[in-house]
Symmetry: C2
Subunit: 163 residues, 2 copies
């Protein structure tokens, strides 16, 4: 089969540095940064505890996440928030959302990858941005009245600057 770094881990991935760039989400999987092709939040289980390993914040899907000076606000998953046809629902504190909440409680590191639209608007590129901690999260009512989770993540100081 494919040569995949299949061991999910929390924290840095050996050989991967901040600023490293990738072309496809499948590449993120191959190198061990993020194993989910189409999900923004990846996580692992320690016993019965889900802990986030990485998130991908991609531009261009209307999530209105913000990203400034090492502080990031990230929208949770589920509820078909970004879907157009399907009716939206309240997001639930399960799966990836639960994992991120647990990562806050246990203060475990989360890898952050930013998916940026290319200048020519043809596809995206993904840049690894280093390790973050979840500082808080809250529930919000969106304009459509549905519940969404908003996670605040802060970049851990002392990491080498992006190359």
């Amino acid at each position: 089969g494919k040569q995949v770094n299949s061991e999910k881990r929390i924290g840095s991935v050996p050989g991967i540095n901040g600023g490293d760039e990738f072309q496809y989400k499948t590449e993120l999987r191959v190198v061990g940064l993020h194993s989910k092709t189409m999900h923004g939040i990846d996580y692992l289980k320690r016993g019965d505890l889900r802990l986030a390993t990485s998130i991908v914040a991609s531009e261009g899907y209307g999530y209105k996440d913000t990203f400034n000076s090492g502080v990031m606000f990230y929208t949770g998953e589920g509820g078909n928030v970004m879907s157009k046809e399907k009716k939206t629902e309240d997001q639930k504190l399960i799966k990836g959302n639960l994992a991120l909440a647990n990562s806050m409680r246990h203060q475990t590191e989360v890898r952050v990858i930013r998916g940026e639209e290319r200048w020519d608007r043809k596809g995206k590129r993904y840049v690894y941005d280093g390790l973050y901690l979840v500082e808080q999260y809250r529930e919000e009512r969106e304009a459509r009245g549905k519940l969404v989770y908003k996670f605040k993540l802060c970049r851990i100081p002392g990491q080498p600057p992006l190359t």
Copy 2:
């Protein structure tokens, strides 16, 4: 940007041999075999004429295409034939279907890639199977009463055996 063999061409791709294997459809694009990530039929335009360059026949989508002794029957695209929720419609002789029909009229080569389910059923692998010619096509009524195109392609003799 990405190093992509961006020149669409009809016929062999330099450096690619029958039997060569790939892991993702995006890899097919990078090496120049098939540029469409999610479409089965790729084509180019010569003036106003669309000609097929390559097709990908992937297992596991219920298309019931056949593939025996260098003779292949391939279902056209469109009409949401394989969709479950959406209503199906008649396929039309446009886009990829039109390109394949033109490839028959002009007897131009079509690269054939087979997407095989892996033994562990985790994803697919794609194997380049060499050059084919479209020998005929016909319209058929499916069980649900909708029109679909069926293309018969024959492997061009004299190609080196698959490695």
